[in-house]
Symmetry: C2
Subunit: 219 residues, 2 copies
DNA sequence: TAGATTGTTAATCGATTAACAATC
DNA sequence: TAGATTGTTAATCGATTAACAATC
């Protein structure tokens, strides 16, 4: 049964959001000295449907899994990190060095995932020239030249909601192609610009609603 | 065409995650003095499919929208906040008062959404008795008695990944029914416990992957 | 070999979108 | 009235799950 691996990149968005979980879980196994891992085992540990995991992994792995054994961990981790782009480090800038911005700027987990936030921008003059961790904070006016000079493609927005659209427009104009938006507002962007919204109020609504429904049904 | 409103609570999860956006957008319109809003207008502002918005709103509104005019804003906002449970304030506790925990504890947006985080727990003795904003930090040992005494049902986890499962177990044992998990790990919980994962690495993976694909296809 | 695990094809499930009649 | 907007029914799209043959 010849199958083409990695050539058919029909990995869905939903798959993609599970891959980091696989990666982190399987890396833990590697550190514990394991050599092989089966999709079935991953599925059980992560409480997912086995077929789902099998399908996800088969779409990413460069080699077929071996029946009875599973996948060789070293190879699989390599394929995963390759696929997720952890290897070719991506650079990003961040605008809005408030408490959330600061948190993201200094978070080491991102850099281990290959996201290198090189600099923060803020309109508050008191912050200019300061460092958060080892990242400098620059004035907004420097954004354009910075983006154009470095060719950075990812922008992170951590300003208050009412300023987010303006920052977004500015980013897009300077050449940013993908925006990670932490402000609680939907951004209007031209066709072709990617936006990923990080929306805590929505998440909370889902959770508390489900809880309310459950409490009611139990009555 | 008689329709039953609010009685048929077949509002999907996906709808639910859009409602807070509608709420916030429509409230802005209210503040600008608008009296009526149409699903079509909301759809256009938020860049969503009109039918989708119409369906969402019709499932939540206590009255039918008026053709040509739309929905009365005051009534609609009331229905939305009713539906989202913003009125009957929910209490929550938070475990792990690091930088992220602190950020969430002090975030005022949550309280305006009806989530009242009453107290934070941390294992660091240096923090015990301190206040973050107006919230006290208590030792972990106090968690059980606190939950049982107050009957709080929502727990927020902001500890490092390797401690998350232990905290989760403890919460569940004490009677917590819904968990908002900010640690990058999947939690194993008994049937019936709700978990909402806030998963930044996964989000990032989706974004940077899409970007990479796009950059490649443009070549 | 026997059995666990693989990858694939088909069925199911759920959410979004298209089409349309009803109404102010 | 004419036209914008509504709510609903049917079609489409996408993702998950079930079933199964292949294989080490």
């Amino acid at each position: 049964m010849a199958t083409q691996h990695n050539t058919s990149l029909v990995v869905q968005k939903s798959t993609l959001s599970r891959l980091p979980l696989y990666y982190s879980h399987i890396r833990k196994m590697q550190q514990q000295g394991e050599k092989y891992v089966s999709a079935a085992a991953v599925a059980q540990s992560l409480n997912l449907n086995p077929v789902l995991v099998r399908k996800d992994l088969s779409g990413v792995s460069s080699v077929e899994g071996k029946p009875r054994a599973g996948f060789e961990i070293d190879t699989l981790l390599n394929d995963l990190s390759e696929f997720l782009g952890y290897n070719n480090v991506d650079e990003a800038i961040l605008v809005g060095v408030g408490s959330l911005g600061r948190l993201i700027l200094t978070n080491k987990e991102f850099s281990s995932m290959g996201l290198n936030i090189t600099v923060g921008f803020d309109k508050d003059p008191d912050l200019h020239g300061l460092q958060v961790g080892d990242k400098f904070i620059l004035p907004m006016e420097k954004m354009e030249s910075y983006i154009k000079r470095t060719g950075v493609k990812i922008g992170i927005i951590t300003v208050p909601a009412d300023q987010a659209q303006a920052v977004c427009d500015q980013m897009v104009e300077c050449g940013i192609l993908a925006i990670w938006n932490f402000a609680f507002t939907l951004l209007n962007v031209p066709q072709g610009i990617l936006v990923k919204n990080e929306n805590l109020p929505s998440s909370l609504a889902v959770l508390s609603q489900q809880l309310a429904k459950k409490l009611n049904s139990n009555k």
